[in-house]
Symmetry: D3
Subunit: 241 residues, 6 copies
Amino acid sequence: MRIWVINPNTTRAMTDMIAHCGRAVAGPEVIITGITSEIGPESIESHYDEALSVPGVLQAVERGERTGVDGYVIACFGDPGVDAAREVATGPVIGIAEAAMQAASHLGTGFSIVTTLARTIGQSAHLAERYGMQRFCRGIHACEIPVLELDTDPNARKVIAEACREAIEVDRSDAVVLGCAGMADMCRDLSAELGVPVVDGVSAATLAVQSLVTMGLRTSKRGEYAPPPVKRYSPGAPPAG
Amino acid sequence: MRIWVINPNTTRAMTDMIAHCGRAVAGPEVIITGITSEIGPESIESHYDEALSVPGVLQAVERGERTGVDGYVIACFGDPGVDAAREVATGPVIGIAEAAMQAASHLGTGFSIVTTLARTIGQSAHLAERYGMQRFCRGIHACEIPVLELDTDPNARKVIAEACREAIEVDRSDAVVLGCAGMADMCRDLSAELGVPVVDGVSAATLAVQSLVTMGLRTSKRGEYAPPPVKRYSPGAPPAG
Amino acid sequence: MRIWVINPNTTRAMTDMIAHCGRAVAGPEVIITGITSEIGPESIESHYDEALSVPGVLQAVERGERTGVDGYVIACFGDPGVDAAREVATGPVIGIAEAAMQAASHLGTGFSIVTTLARTIGQSAHLAERYGMQRFCRGIHACEIPVLELDTDPNARKVIAEACREAIEVDRSDAVVLGCAGMADMCRDLSAELGVPVVDGVSAATLAVQSLVTMGLRTSKRGEYAPPPVKRYSPGAPPAG
Amino acid sequence: MRIWVINPNTTRAMTDMIAHCGRAVAGPEVIITGITSEIGPESIESHYDEALSVPGVLQAVERGERTGVDGYVIACFGDPGVDAAREVATGPVIGIAEAAMQAASHLGTGFSIVTTLARTIGQSAHLAERYGMQRFCRGIHACEIPVLELDTDPNARKVIAEACREAIEVDRSDAVVLGCAGMADMCRDLSAELGVPVVDGVSAATLAVQSLVTMGLRTSKRGEYAPPPVKRYSPGAPPAG
Amino acid sequence: MRIWVINPNTTRAMTDMIAHCGRAVAGPEVIITGITSEIGPESIESHYDEALSVPGVLQAVERGERTGVDGYVIACFGDPGVDAAREVATGPVIGIAEAAMQAASHLGTGFSIVTTLARTIGQSAHLAERYGMQRFCRGIHACEIPVLELDTDPNARKVIAEACREAIEVDRSDAVVLGCAGMADMCRDLSAELGVPVVDGVSAATLAVQSLVTMGLRTSKRGEYAPPPVKRYSPGAPPAG
Amino acid sequence: MRIWVINPNTTRAMTDMIAHCGRAVAGPEVIITGITSEIGPESIESHYDEALSVPGVLQAVERGERTGVDGYVIACFGDPGVDAAREVATGPVIGIAEAAMQAASHLGTGFSIVTTLARTIGQSAHLAERYGMQRFCRGIHACEIPVLELDTDPNARKVIAEACREAIEVDRSDAVVLGCAGMADMCRDLSAELGVPVVDGVSAATLAVQSLVTMGLRTSKRGEYAPPPVKRYSPGAPPAG
């Protein structure tokens, strides 16, 4: 089974870390490949960034389809392009926000999301609604560390742990969802430190894709996710052309 | 990793079939054990049946805890006792309605549920709401075959296939969720026949529990799922005593 | 007219108090009988307790049916077993959470619930949603007094009054609902003290059942509340057998 | 205990019938008085009619307050002026739509409303939402008989029975709510004929008010229902002046 | 194009101010006329006031219809009588709460409402729900200045600015809606001072009506807003008679 | 005042028609310019098309900002890129779905949407929810005419009229919203033919932008719509660079 974990931003170091997190949980029969988007911004912290990351995500999925990839993880907490990618893909496509929130919903009656910049809170709230997870999501909190500093800021881990602790207290939550792929490698430590389940979407989405493929389930091609109609493009080809 | 797939009714043949379905998808490191409830009704087709099945489910989970079971599947589509079981269990507990609906939500924009008797439609609708899946669930349809005849009625497969076909048409759905553990072994064939993903909750819940355990995630003991306070019982002991 | 006020826990002193509250408001033609559950926990403070109290509630209702009882109050704020009891009963069955919230909804634009332990807040919230009362319920507050100490803790009344006062302030509520049958006898005094209506579910449910019976209205047997199908039970009989 | 059943339209024959229905269910200690509005339209079948009926309702409540009335029923299914009346009244004020829907919510898992003209369906839907009863209301059906012909049209009973039967079938409902005070006297017969509970709001609201008064509960004066600020009126006095 | 801006209270000074605000934004082809209600209270600060203002609003609209007015603004933030007025009017009728909230929904992801007395908060919340604006409305705040003192209280502007500032902070809002026609002339200054869009409903509703008329769109007469059925009135005529 | 009406697809004929519709309603002081996207698909009929149209929309808005454009209409019924465009724009940005639904909500109690291909129904439903218009939207219907054939198919007008007629009947709607910019020029005729308001989003959005600019209201830069953080892009520049 081959699963591609697509990093929608163009920062390769993040792809490596994400792929590592996917591999750490995937079954022995699964080949996890980290894919860095070739078009778009170096990190995603606005609707603008997110919109400009989608063509690269779609290009990656189209490339994957040509080589028979079984399923895809979209590894940015805004789940950019998930609907369009499902139109293109034969197998399942899952975003990390989607998978993380659903996983957390099994472990307690309510979770908090701890994310990077406050300006992305709206998108997380939108996704919670879109996935039916609003009833479990008790609050969304920003630690105000930019995505690319998660790795370099020596205080990042401590600031995030503090934000988690406060979120649990204020929201009376039972669990935490980390709202950025760039935080994927902090989950186990934070779980131990905080005494509540801390969910990383990259692992959760990897296992959710693996589970669907194991069950022989693919994206339905009957309705809204049927292959998109063929079109002429300006200046000449879609990004994957 | 040890996962118990608990059949909340007392019919052993159903337990065997369910455990088989769980085993068919579980990873090589996972030991799946089918557990038949020792107290309660032979099948679950009313709120009354469901209520009387819960003590047996809890007894099973308490037994599992004493032997270090890693996680539990509650294999009846009413997800009986899932909240109480989470209070008792250390590891994750997932109901098959919960897992099936979430799996289906990844594969299309809307699914139909095909269940046994019409009188159980309300409970499925209630669970769709409780899990946030109302926005994906486009309709719930009964085939009016009692649970224990799924196995013996020679027309059952055909009637269910027909109910699925009609559900897809009427609800304009992209996928189907089978609303009874007793239908678990029909999924692959129905998927092939109908041309849309048909989801079985037993497989989905088994893999969801396996995924959570793989990620090191357990039921949160911070809030509502903390161990229940110790009590005196009449006539003397709780069912697991 | 005969109404049974069923105490789902096994503590007789609480049954006596509850029956007294029901009698204090019932019409002259109504015979109120307090019924103590014969199976289950001495008090209900978790999903586990609640699940194990339901067989006793159903046993009581089945006993009542054999003697022609006209209607039933389920006198625990989790309304345990209300759906299953309606399948069994000919007359109306009303839970005290249901009745209290509906009564409060007539008296102001929003109420607060003051309950016992914080771990039961989730169940109250769930019931508020199930009964459509979410739009009136502005907050749920715990006084952290266990059910069986409501009667014995000399500070209970004062602590509850304080919790009510704070709830009204914080939630900007117009009314209070007391979230435990064990608080039923405190309502009138608290109403006077706080200057807002304080609603006791036992009185409210007793009068709601009495009202339905007076109007000749019984539980509908057309749909989900039709009598449950007959089943074989392990180890041999349902609790009422 | 004195309860006024206010007919918001100016047709006295309807007041008499309504008061009769209230008296038929009220307790022996209750004096029911039917009050005909002195200002406004002869029947209420539009937002316009409803708006122009409210001053008469308020005038009646103000009159009642001067003579110490204990509670009020607003006996038109649009529940006209219920919020304003609660500001004026000391005791409880309940509309018949409110009471009927809540009563029906105890008897089954879903009800249908059968009303007069299709143009009033929107107001019933609005009230179902306002009272949290949307989750129980499965459909609203018009029999297209104008209010004042309910009494004179020899086919009215038959047409309404037919509309109820169809509503139950189409909506898969367990109960029916009659959507007009002018249908109050048909409930018992229709219940018997249709085999499901048929709820009349006039009886239900009368008993709901009686119940609240019995419990010593009055309209909260803390928040939105505090007495309205005193004002100057053009042409000189409010309707009750 | 002729648009009437109806002041539902009887205070002429407020009408003048409102009409001025409408004129300041209307197109060169539009004649704005301020209309003072001839029946009802001098200001609207309760459900009671609102109910008693509606007959005057309807009288004004009926008068307008006789002279071929193209559209109407109802210039009180409770939007009194908007449904009934639409039954009477041929052209569009828009309330200022409706228009203000919709305008604000284009400018940010969430707004706060700053209104006069706390007792009107419920009505604003109700309208936010009715217009689908609940998802944008993050909070409703009272400055506790009565309507008729907005003009005379020398501190009013400062108190309102302070309430806006606090609302933005507490609710994390992007925009403010002023919740009273009497605040219409403060918007531009407050926008400049606070650095976020501050929306006045009078301007917004005037332009919304103007836009609909420009597009040739009128109130639909097909369904609920068809002309109301003709009725007999007590004491003899509807207010417009 | 300068307003750009942006056609998110690359078909110039459609831009011309759309700009014409905008000009037909705009005030005398307004200069309407039709802008054809320079990157992306020739028409938008899938999530994939929509995703690939967004960079072109953003490029257009960035170009507009450099020349001081006052506001933008996004003239495709999927409202592609509206959030990202608001981050970039100083003035207001409004999508045609948003504007059309809000306009229709003033004219009746419920509308139907008539769109092109059934596969776009999901996106319209999503936007109805996002804008709070779900409560007004009674149904979404496809005429199954591809966008680029609206202009060339000689039966298009007739098929659309038929779809509108059926939608009104089935949904019991008071108004129709046309779900494609390519239908903008059909509104007036259809309104006349069907006897209900038929709303075109291009006109509605043009006037909504014009209204906001007239009131001096701009996109809030306080929260989620603040300018996006500056980023490095691969292969070197964002589309607008």
